[in-house]
């Protein structure tokens, strides 16, 4: 006689905690084994809470050493590796995602060196440009890129010190739940990476009018042209950056990561009062 299974409602992940939607809303989605699962469905307030949580977590994350951030990203790869066999996805895809986390873990303490410059100005100043995080990023990976898409998006978003909310459709919730569990045990401070499951255009409509969101990081092909256009129009109000990423098959390069950062140029007055240009 077959046993009656316990049905699990898949939660979302915000601030290091597994949460239900504050609206209490869930939707049904198909699991990998063909069964039906219930998935929490992000409301407007869930997004606001997540962004607020990202905002408060970001400065501490950015203040950690790049070495430390890299270790935490690597820890994510370790945890995923340990769970690789349990993930409801093709082995090759899971391994690609794990390898991607390892790849980006290695960037965290190198990308600044690659992207920063020492600028030879014609004045008595030492002038350098360095990359700083852009702040809070809403990442929308391509659902077809599966776990790799999520890992690529979150790693690219956070490795330089941003915090992010990753938005996935309910159909991706099963895989996303494994990722949440890995995140929860991989030393990420709460709120650096949040994951919401919901209707992408619907959540985006809220994100569009959230002035404290710094960057929208979407993979090409996820949004209908009209949805993207609306996002661009709304972004103008606060000069929100909109970054369109390529599909996850290729990792983000420093040139791409640059778009998730701000270049800050610092002029430091130098010692020798000789030569150089005029006052300005």
């Amino acid at each position: 006689m077959s046993r009656l299974a316990v049905q699990k409602t898949l939660k979302m992940y915000v601030g290091g905690k597994f949460i239900r939607s504050e609206s209490g809303r869930t939707v049904a989605a198909k699991a990998a084994d063909g069964s039906t699962m219930n998935v929490c469905f992000a409301s407007r307030k869930d997004l606001r809470d997540s962004i607020g949580n990202n905002r408060s977590s970001q400065p501490k994350w950015a203040a950690m050493t790049a070495y430390n951030r890299g270790q935490i990203l690597y820890r994510l790869a370790e945890i995923l590796e340990a769970r690789a066999d349990t993930l409801p996805a093709k082995k090759a895809d899971v391994h690609a995602a794990i390898d991607r986390a390892v790849h980006h873990a290695g960037w965290s303490d190198k990308v600044t060196a690659v992207l920063s410059t020492l600028n030879p100005v014609a004045a008595t100043y030492v002038n350098y440009s360095l990359v700083r995080p852009v702040g809070v990023v809403l990442a929308v990976p391509h659902p077809d890129d599966g776990l790799l898409g999520m890992v690529e998006a979150l790693c690219a978003a956070v490795l330089m010190g941003n915090s992010t909310t990753v938005l996935v459709p309910p159909a991706s919730a099963e895989v996303a739940t494994h990722l949440m569990e890995a995140l929860a045990t991989s030393d990420f401070p709460g709120g650096v990476v949040n994951i919401l499951t919901g209707d992408i255009p619907g959540v985006l409509a809220t994100a569009n009018v959230h002035d404290d969101l710094d960057t929208l990081f979407v993979t090409e092909g996820v949004l209908e042209p009209e949805v993207l256009k609306t996002a661009q129009i709304e972004a103008a109000a606060v000069m929100r950056r909109i970054v369109i990423a390529g599909r996850a098959a290729e990792p983000a390069t420093p040139a791409h990561l640059m778009r998730l950062a701000e270049l800050q140029t610092v002029w430091m007055s130098a010692w020798e009062p000789q030569g150089g240009a005029a006052a300005y």
Binding site: V114, T117, N119, P120, V121, A122, A123, Y125, N127, S129, R132, V134, D214, P225, E226, L228, K229, T230, Q232, I233, A235, A236, A237, V238, M239, R241, T253, A255, H256, M258, E262, L263, Q264, T265, V266, W267, M268, S269, A277, A278, A279, Y280
Partner: protein, 492 residues
């Protein structure tokens, strides 16, 4: 000396240096009318909607200026496209670089004439056009000329390509310099250009087109359309434009971003600012005074990155303000063509009204007004005395909004954390300054300021090798340095 006098000693700075007029004498012949420059030809443009450009120091008209309509803008974009397809993208990078070098050299050779023309059309002092605007413009062309054959090193490991036709809209505060900031990297990266100068300052960009003729720049590589907002709108929304580069107000930047939403156009926005200049008690105070002066009174405060908020440590605030007022009392306001003028004219009657309105708002909200200079404000023309507003609060209009004039709002703080918090308490994020002789504090505060440019013991310094640009409402993208190439390149 009267030993019993309890009076606080004060210096007699006003009138201490009585200087005869010293006007720059280089002659400039203005045309009666300025049209457009399309496909290597001077186009008179239509009479409809044409307008005057004025000398803001006198309020008198200099010349008529044509306003390009959509048809003329279309011609300019088509010329740029043709030049891109047929000439500029086919040319060897080294040759592109050589054309840009030629521009730089001719700019230097015609520098005096350009400086005078800029001063007459814009109102800024000849001291600045001669020492900053024109030489820095030439330096920008020199800098980016050298990049033309080195683009593969701008994004190592990636393939980079030009974008195509760049539409550029520039402001009136640094007309020639902003043209250089826009045109030089665009051309070096292999793009062609249609640029629209601000309607109040069209002259030096037109003179730049004479240089393009002199150096045989292929027709259509750079096109200039004159006009106001409608011309700019027609330009940035033109379907065959690949890239939009804008410097100006955040308000207009929003309009442009909305107008190009849904297109493939890449954009860079260099917008407004409300820069904080933080002075700690352990700063080199007399030098910090210079920095504050450079920060807010350079170019009459018509600088997007102006240090319009002074944050001074409370323990030295009174002393520092005394020093500041003394130094301001030596600044000369008046005829911009006089080589000794420090403070020139406000660019337009409209901007004058804006600045005066903000000063009135500041006073209404409780600010205490101090104005000073070495001499009186001229009667004719558009002038505002250097202005210092004290007793203001973080929430006051003059602390939050960009005034774009010679108006400094003064706030105090007690700790580095409070200074950083107040400096970052703005929607903008273009530039900031910090003054202290304590190195650890200098680095810490400099790197905690949310601004694209931070001057540590300095202010309003510019260099083509140094990336410039803002965060948040101050826009995105960088101009200057290798970073300044990226907005004009597709990275594959």
């Amino acid at each position: 000396m009267n030993k019993t006098a309890p009076k606080k000693p004060e210096l007699q700075l006003q009138g201490a240096l009585d200087l005869s007029p010293s006007p720059e004498s280089c002659p400039v012949t203005f045309r009666e009318r300025y049209g457009h420059f399309i496909d290597g030809k001077r186009v008179a443009g239509k009479d409809a909607d044409d307008f005057d450009t004025l000398n803001p120091a006198t309020g008198q008209p200099i010349a008529r200026v044509a306003a390009a309509d959509a048809t003329e803008v279309d011609k300019a974009v088509k010329a740029a496209r043709k030049a891109y397809d047929k000439v500029w993208s086919k040319m060897s990078p080294a040759d592109r670089g050589k054309y840009i070098y030629r521009i730089a050299r001719r700019l230097q050779e015609r520098s005096r004439e350009l400086a005078v023309a800029e001063t007459i059309d814009n109102g800024k002092p000849i001291r600045e056009t001669r020492d900053v605007d024109v030489p820095l413009a030439a330096q920008h062309f020199f800098y980016y000329a050298g990049w033309a054959d080195k683009l593969q090193y701008a994004a190592p490991g990636r393939d980079v390509r030009p974008l195509g036709v760049a539409a550029q809209v520039i402001p009136w505060n640094f007309p020639l310099l902003m043209a250089a900031w826009k045109i030089a990297p665009a051309l070096a990266a292999g793009n062609t250009v249609v640029i629209k100068p601000a309607e109040t300052t069209p002259i030096t960009v037109t003179m730049l087109t004479e240089i393009f003729e002199e150096i045989d720049l292929p027709p259509g590589v750079v096109n200039v359309v004159n006009g106001a907002g409608a011309t700019g709108a027609a330009l940035v929304t033109h379907p065959d434009v690949d890239k939009v580069a804008f410097t100006g107000s955040t308000g207009v930047g929003r309009i442009i971003m909305r107008a190009i939403a849904g297109t493939k156009k890449k954009a860079t926005m260099e917008l407004g600012g409300k820069g904080a200049n933080i002075v700690f008690a352990d700063a080199a105070l007399d030098q910090a005074v210079e920095g504050v002066i450079n920060g807010i009174f350079f170019n009459q405060g018509h600088v997007c990155c102006a240090g319009s908020r002074l944050l001074v440590e409370e323990s030295i605030a009174a002393d520092f303000l005394d020093r500041l007022r003394r130094r301001v009392s030596t600044l000369r306001i008046g005829n911009p063509l006089d080589k000794n003028t420090d403070i020139g004219a406000i660019n337009s009657a409209e901007q004058l009204a804006t600045v005066e309105r903000y000063i009135a708002i500041g006073q209404r909200e409780g600010a205490e007004l101090w104005q000073g200079a070495a001499c009186a404000r001229p009667d004719a023309g558009y002038f505002v005395m250097p202005t210092i507003l004290t007793g203001v609060q973080q929430s006051d209009t003059v602390v939050r909004e960009e005034i774009f004039g010679p108006v400094l709002s003064v706030l105090t703080f007690r700790t580095p954390d409070e200074a950083v918090k107040k400096a970052n308490d703005t929607e903008y994020g273009l530039a900031a300054g910090v003054w202290t002789e304590k190195t650890s504090k200098l680095f810490d505060v400099a790197h905690r300021l949310n601004a694209g440019v931070v001057w540590a013991n300095g202010y309003n310094l510019f260099d083509p090798a140094s990336p410039f640009g803002g965060i948040r409402h101050s826009g995105f993208g960088r101009e200057g340095g290798p970073a300044g190439l990226m907005p004009y390149l597709e990275v594959r």
